[in-house]
């Protein structure tokens, strides 16, 4: 087995002393309320993986903005849920870049509908090697929005990231995150509510997921691995 240090150096650009939770997992917001399996994680992030750039829209460093410390901990727990779901198909989420848009800049982007979500992703972009995910206070007309098979060129016109709101549970927030990033990586709705990509069996355009939407198929895993943002380390 490759050592943690080797993986940290090769895959995460870490050197010197580092924290497993903070630097290897990218969970910068304090303690986790989930058990973390380091062995699985470092194996996964060496294989096909993507990076995420997580934007907190309307956040203030002293938590006086849109998100409390508990909210940020819920975000990192949700990422861990998404990591577990993707792990079924040996797909990793390697690096997490955390960004925030201060309240003074966020303007109307704290509460968005589908078209404002597109504007938000056009206006803001994180590092080129990470898929942008924007956490907003409220998505008025859904729980999240994402482009299916999104571009890797952040200067592309249209939606160049995923936008989502937090739900009341870590599990469901993690499923929504996995679902939206799954869209970006090329997945469409499946027709099975127990699948991460949810139910749109009758093709009426409503994609629904719930707390049981935890499965990912081999075909879906292969689609994700074929996305332009995915690389091996």
């Amino acid at each position: 087995m490759t050592s943690v240090r080797t993986v940290a150096e090769n895959c995460l650009d870490l050197s010197g002393s580092f924290s497993i939770r903070r630097d290897v997992y990218g969970y910068i917001w304090g303690t986790m309320n989930r058990d973390l399996s380091l062995k699985n994680h470092i194996e996964l992030i060496q294989g096909p993986s993507c990076n995420l750039c997580l934007f907190l829209v309307g956040h203030e460093p002293d938590f006086s903005g849109e998100f409390t410390q508990a909210d940020t901990q819920r975000m990192q727990a949700a990422i861990d849920v998404a990591r577990d779901i993707y792990a079924q198909e040996n797909f990793g989420i390697r690096k997490l870049y955390w960004r925030y848009i201060p309240s003074s800049e966020a303007g109307g982007y704290t509460v968005v509908d589908g078209s404002e979500a597109t504007d938000l992703t056009e206006d803001y972009s994180g590092p080129n090697d990470g898929l942008d995910v924007f956490f907003v206070t409220n998505v008025t007309d859904a729980s999240g929005w994402s482009k299916v098979d999104g571009p890797c060129d952040k200067d592309a016109k249209g939606r160049t990231g995923s936008v989502m709101e937090l739900s009341n549970s870590d599990l469901v927030t993690g499923i929504v995150l996995g679902h939206e990033v799954g869209h970006y990586l090329g997945l469409s709705h499946e027709g099975d509510i127990t699948n991460l990509m949810g139910d749109d069996a009758d093709g009426d355009g409503i994609g629904s997921i719930n707390s049981t939407s935890l499965n990912l198929t081999n075909n879906q895993g292969n689609t994700m691995k074929g996305h332009c943002s995915v690389s091996n380390c």
Binding site: I101, G108, H179, I193, D204, G207
Partner: protein
């Protein structure tokens, strides 16, 4: 207890989340049931997520009871904020006296995100009545709030006939800057310098050493260099003589002695005058337009095409003696990166 069809149950269940709203279709009975759930707060047989129900209602209800149902939800302080926000947003999709009335009523009774969503909705459908109501909020100095408020007022102002619009205020409120750059003829010495700085990289064109133009854009000098068929005193005549590569646009930083070709100017004779396209050196067309006779002069206009973050127009006139043109652009919208945590 209100019974829900399997489809409606799936659409409004509080055990599920919407990830994409699409072309939802419900039958008449289902729409009636949905209206009943929302307007009476009647208990359904399975738990309902009222935000999802509002969004479904917005998609399917169209004209039916639309403002009344949503207004009731918006004004009900016992509803969750997310549900009321969805209702406000829905009212902003239906221009109707009742919708506006409800939004105006809600304006003074709400704050924070909900109030901003109400303002946004008023901007989309409001009339003079909304402008009056919005004026009462102009003392709030929060920049984000001010922007939403101003934009809503502008939006309404543009829709209403007879409203005077202060364009300077609009530019200020929207943070837009128009930039106008005037062309200047190059002196003979400067023209020579510019041609030399291209180091023969002229795409095979012989360039005129009699006439060229400069536009300063920041610290960069952009020069329009014409092909040597263009002779002083016969510029228009030369232009009309044939379809041709009329010139190149080169850019040069004053600290550097080397210019690089940025664009190629192609002019094609047409029935109405001359079609003009400006390409990158790769052949990708970036500006297009035409020139047409107007009295003794010819006028021309070019606009950038395709994706751009700084919309630009080039307008000007051509006579045998001179070419005068102006470049108008708006301040560039840059991709922002947020703050590092």
């Amino acid at each position: 207890m209100i019974a829900l069809s399997p489809k409606l149950s799936r659409v409004v269940s509080d055990q599920a989340l919407d990830c994409i709203n699409g072309n939802l279709s419900l039958d008449k009975n289902e729409i009636d049931t949905l209206t009943k759930i929302l307007s009476t707060k009647g208990k359904a047989k399975s738990p309902v997520n009222r935000k999802r129900a509002v969004n479904a209602f917005i998609q399917v209800a169209k004209n039916r009871d639309f403002p009344e149902v949503l207004a009731k939800i918006l004004l009900d302080s016992t509803e969750l904020n997310a549900t009321r926000i969805a209702a406000a947003s829905g009212l902003g999709k239906f221009a109707d006296e009742e919708s506006e009335k409800a939004l105006i009523q809600a304006l003074g009774k709400t704050n924070g995100h909900l109030q901003r969503e109400v303002i946004k909705a008023m901007g989309r459908i409001g009339t003079e009545k909304s402008i009056k109501a919005l004026d009462a909020l102009s003392e709030n100095n929060d920049p984000g709030f001010k922007h939403t408020l101003t934009f809503a007022r502008i939006f309404i102002g543009y829709r209403i006939k007879g409203t005077s619009i202060d364009s300077e205020k609009i530019k200020e409120a929207l943070g837009v800057q128009w930039i106008k750059l005037q062309s200047n003829p190059l002196s003979s010495k400067k023209l020579q310098e510019n041609i030399q700085s291209l180091r023969d990289n002229t795409f095979g064109l012989k360039l005129s050493d009699d006439i060229g133009f400069e536009i300063m854009c920041g610290k960069t000098s952009n020069t329009l260099l014409l092909n040597d068929k263009f002779k002083p005193g016969a510029l228009l005549k030369n232009l009309k003589s044939r379809s041709q590569i009329s010139g190149i646009v080169a850019a040069r930083n004053p600290k550097e002695s080397i210019s690089t070709v940025r664009n190629i100017v192609i002019t094609n004779l047409s029935e109405s005058g001359i079609d003009i396209i400006i390409t990158r050196t790769t052949g990708e067309v970036v500006y297009a337009g035409d020139a047409w006779p107007e009295g003794e002069l010819w006028k021309f206009t070019l606009r950038d095409i395709g994706l751009t973050s700084a919309p630009t127009t080039v307008t000007g006139t051509i006579s045998d003696k001179e070419i005068i043109f102006e470049v108008s652009s708006v301040s560039q919208r840059r991709v922002k990166t947020g703050q590092r945590i």
